[in-house]
């Protein structure tokens, strides 16, 4: 028999005993599946509803589903080789739906795909191709997990993964082998039964292992919150965030059970990479463990047996975890939710955190400085005040208003704006946008700050804002929406990029070796806002760009986000040092930043490194450098 003429062998006659055996096993398998899956589904459905969840607009959901689930795009893009292997396994599963239905129908005499028929022949070959790639894929993944053993999959060997891999391999192998036997042979029957047993063993294993994601993750991806790192509003007077099981919503429960334990989140986490307790994968699995033991109606604290408060407060909210997750788990809202639970109820006792909160309770800025400092800066530098006639309101923010380096960035940017003839003004009074307290979970303070600021902006008739700080931009544009519609806001890199063609391109002092610049993508500009090219356009005015190993959506956090810039000493290696070393190791002469927090973190880190370090400049300063008659500050 040649390969092309081979057809899939299907045993023709099954005895009554076989039929009954099959039925019995199938029912047992189905019950095994449902007993566990039903319980999980129950718990998910019993969880609190997500009040801010909207199914519509559905276009993006469908798009994400097609791209991430059907095309496995994120799975492949972020870890190409293993991702492709997994994609083949997944596509094989999809292809095998028809095959499996037919396979089971055959024993009952109800087979609907006649192997000799044209469609079936084509389809079975089609499926065979996927079976081949799937078998190869699963073999490769097995080798990776059990022989290569990458760190991110965890220390312990996962025997359930081994078993599942084996079953999948058997399924594919038996299918392929069926091409090489004839219908009526004992071999065909044996293969049929082997395939069936593997199938029926597989089914109940699904809800008992992380392979539950087979069922859940398409739904998880489809039902995501909508925006990256979207923090849901609190609902009602008794909602303080994620305190106990009763606070876990259906989305969070669904996500907790969807975790594939692939470890991509942890692989990219700045805290996990610098020896801290926080491990994003363990956070999600911790919730799963909680739900398994206590369920969604429990009053047991979420931060207790399964997750530690210390870990939760080591998160910089950089979003790398959420960005990487192939099954649609949204880590940042979970972590912020857990923080809310601790902060809104006063359970979080942290010296520096309390100091930050008290400073913002009484004052206007996160640094606890007198607002007259900012007034003096505005007066001394003769910055125009916003009076409703200018095009932009220039939002200084806490760093731009009070930090000496932040002020330099502001002044450089104003020089460029003046050069471009753009009218702008600064507000007489600003309060902190509330970004650090928002990420730390203090909703009381955040509401106070957001509402006060929104009122001031409305009173001043502000229509457009430009800011040097990605945190301010994000908070104003997204987080303030909870209270009322904020004015339009953009980051200064977006503004500068739009006018880059009008800004002088700087000639290098030495044309054969131009100044090399490495741009660090801020988390809140890159992953949060999808802005990667604009700041590079601006930096390119000043020199030649080189890329850091971890750049763009893989950019490694500077360590300041999530309110951590205001908290005390870190344990383990400093995140900022890790990143600064990486940037310095590119050999670039200049590190370009686009966030005053990144700037301040790297300044300290580079100072600790010693002599011969790259200079650190904001893209506004790089742009301003090329302006006529621009002196150094």
């Amino acid at each position: 028999m040649t390969l092309l003429s081979a057809t899939l062998a299907e045993p023709q006659h099954f005895s009554l005993f076989e039929k009954l055996l099959f039925a019995g096993l199938a029912i047992a398998s189905g019950c095994g599946f449902w007993r566990r899956f039903g319980k999980i589904l129950d718990k998910i459905l019993q969880s609190k509803k997500d009040p801010s969840f909207h199914l519509f607009p559905i276009g993006k959901r469908i798009g994400d589903f097609v791209w991430e689930v059907l095309f496995q795009a994120k799975v492949i893009r972020e870890r190409p080789l293993p991702g492709l292997a997994h994609a083949f396994v997944f596509w094989a599963f999809c292809t095998f739906v028809l095959v499996t239905l037919n396979h089971c129908a055959v024993v009952l005499g109800l087979g609907f795909l006649n192997p000799a028929g044209q469609f079936a022949r084509f389809y079975f070959y089609f499926a065979a191709a996927f079976a081949l790639t799937c078998a190869a894929g699963i073999l490769g993944l097995f080798v990776r997990r059990f022989l290569v053993r990458p760190k991110w999959l965890g220390e312990k060997l996962s025997y359930q993964s081994g078993v599942i891999a084996l079953l999948i391999f058997v399924l594919m192998a038996t299918y392929l082998a069926s091409f090489f036997v004839s219908d009526a042979t004992p071999a065909a029957r044996a293969l049929w039964w082997l395939h069936t047993l593997a199938l029926l063993a597989f089914l109940p294993l699904i809800p008992h292992t992380k392979h539950l994601h087979l069922v859940l993750s398409p739904a998880t991806v489809f039902l995501s919150r909508g925006t990256f790192s979207q923090i849901p509003p609190l609902s009602g007077d008794e909602d303080f965030g994620l305190v106990a099981g009763t606070d876990l919503t259906q989305l969070v429960s669904l996500q907790a059970w969807s975790c594939v334990e692939c470890g991509r989140c942890t692989e990219h986490c700045p805290a996990a990479n610098t020896g801290k307790l926080l491990n994003p994968k363990e956070i999600v699995l911790g919730l799963r463990g909680y739900l398994n033991e206590y369920g969604p109606s429990s009053e047991q604290p979420l931060l207790g047996k399964y997750n530690a408060q210390e870990a939760v407060f080591q998160c910089t909210t950089c979003g790398a975890c959420e960005f990487q997750c192939p099954v649609g788990i949204e880590h940042v809202p979970i972590l912020v939710g857990l923080r809310r639970g601790a902060v809104n109820t006063g359970l979080w006792e942290d010296q520096h955190g309390a100091k930050l909160f008290l400073a913002l309770e009484r004052g206007s800025n996160a640094l606890g400085l007198s607002p007259t400092d900012r007034d003096k800066f505005i007066q001394r530098m003769e910055l125009p005040l916003f009076d409703g006639t200018q095009e932009y309101c220039l939002w200084l923010g806490c760093m731009g208003g009070y930090d000496p380096k932040g002020r330099e960035i502001v002044l450089a940017f104003t020089r460029v704006m003046s050069y471009l003839g753009t009218s702008y003004g600064v507000l007489r009074k600003e309060k902190c946008t509330g970004d650090p307290v928002r990420r730390l979970g203090n909703d009381l303070l955040f509401q106070q700050l957001a509402e006060a600021n929104l009122e001031a902006l409305a009173q001043n008739k502000v229509k457009k804002i430009v800011s040097i700080c990605p945190h301010c931009v994000r908070t104003i544009q997204e987080d303030w929406k909870e209270y009322s519609t904020p004015p339009e806001i953009e980051h200064h890199s977006e503004f500068l990029a739009r006018y880059a063609h009008r800004l002088p391109k700087q000639a290098s002092p030495n044309p054969t070796s131009p100044e090399t610049i490495v741009f660090h993508d801020p988390c809140y500009l890159g992953r949060y806002r999808n802005v990667y090219d604009e700041p590079r356009t601006v930096a390119a005015l000043a020199g030649e760009l080189v890329e850091a190993p971890r750049s763009r959506e893989r950019s490694f956090c500077c360590g300041a986000g999530g309110g951590l810039a205001f908290l005390g000493e870190e344990t383990g290696e400093r995140v900022s040092h890790n990143r600064a070393q990486e940037l310095a190791a590119t050999g670039a002469q200049t590190i370009a930043a686009a966030c005053p927090f990144c700037n301040t973190m790297f300044r300290d880190a580079l100072a600790a490194t010693g002599e011969g370090v790259p200079q650190l400049m904001d893209i506004a300063q790089l742009a301003a450098r090329g302006l006529p008659q621009s002196g150094s500050s």
């Binding site: 008794e238 303080f240 109820t345 309390a354 309770e361 203090n442």
Partner: protein, 256 residues
């Protein structure tokens, strides 16, 4: 333990200081207000005592309508109920006059302890607590950093000058004025604010309390100090500048 904490709402620190038309106080129209800092420490000490020994913490404050915000903040931080002595002319009363109002409101409560902050951020007299003790006929101690309950009353840690301390035993009821920095302050939480909505705030008026208000000491005028806070760069050689600095440290800063 039943603890009364007398708190004051003061203009926020670093507020712009402009003298009002009458020249007797600062322009209040643009001001933000906050809880007086050492009163926050007094409240914190009271809350910690309540958490340890169970009981009730009652805050008392005198002043106009706006004082309500500060009272609610104290309730949000954990006080059980409050008394607001409505008084629109607090500035016209001297320390004795204010203490009379407070003492009259506190007396019927019969507390075990009365805590006040050491001094206010606006007038900085540091006397109200001591005078309240005198009016209530209670023993008192000032500059207290730490309070512990004993069988006979309380044992307190008092701050003395130049890094010295002292322990004092007092019988209760007693009045203590609390120094800043003895504890870590707690922050206001969402849960606290929500719970505060249902807590009682009893309104009394100054008139109701019928105390003698005529001041024996009058603040008749306020002026801005001549010295504006700008950096004085001391010129000259190292030796000359050092000598000039020592002069300043001796006579202006008064630390030598």
């Amino acid at each position: 333990m039943k603890i009364v904490v007398a708190i004051k709402q003061v203009p926020e620190r670093d507020a712009q200081v402009r003298i009002d038309a009458a020249g007797k106080w600062i322009e209040e129209s643009d001001l933000q207000y906050a809880l007086n800092e050492s009163d926050a420490y007094a409240l914190e000490e009271a809350l910690q005592l309540k958490e340890k020994h169970s009981g009730e913490v009652i805050v008392v404050s005198a002043g106009p309508e706006r004082v309500g915000t500060t009272i609610r903040e104290a309730l949000a931080k954990g006080a059980d109920r409050a008394i607001h002595i409505g008084c629109d002319d607090l500035g016209a009363r001297d320390a004795l006059g204010v203490a009379r109002l407070l003492a009259a409101a506190i007396k019927p409560e019969n507390p075990d302890l009365v805590l006040t902050g050491l001094q206010s951020e606006d007038l900085g007299l540091g006397q109200t607590g001591v005078i309240v003790a005198e009016l209530l006929g209670l023993p008192h101690a000032t500059l207290i950093l730490h309070v512990e309950r004993t069988e006979t009353g309380v044992t307190v840690k008092r701050e003395l000058e130049e890094g010295w301390f002292q322990t004092i035993e007092l019988p209760t009821p007693a009045v203590l004025t609390i120094q800043s920095g003895g504890n870590k302050l707690r922050y206001a939480t969402l849960m606290g604010i929500k719970r505060a909505k249902t807590k009682e705030v009893r309104r009394l008026t100054a008139a109701e309390l019928a105390v003698d208000a005529a001041p024996v000491v009058l603040l008749e005028q306020v002026t801005l100090p001549q010295k504006q806070k700008s950096t004085q760069i001391l010129p000259g050689t190292a030796k000359e500048a050092a000598a000039a600095l020592v002069e300043k440290l001796k006579f202006e800063v008064r630390v030598l």
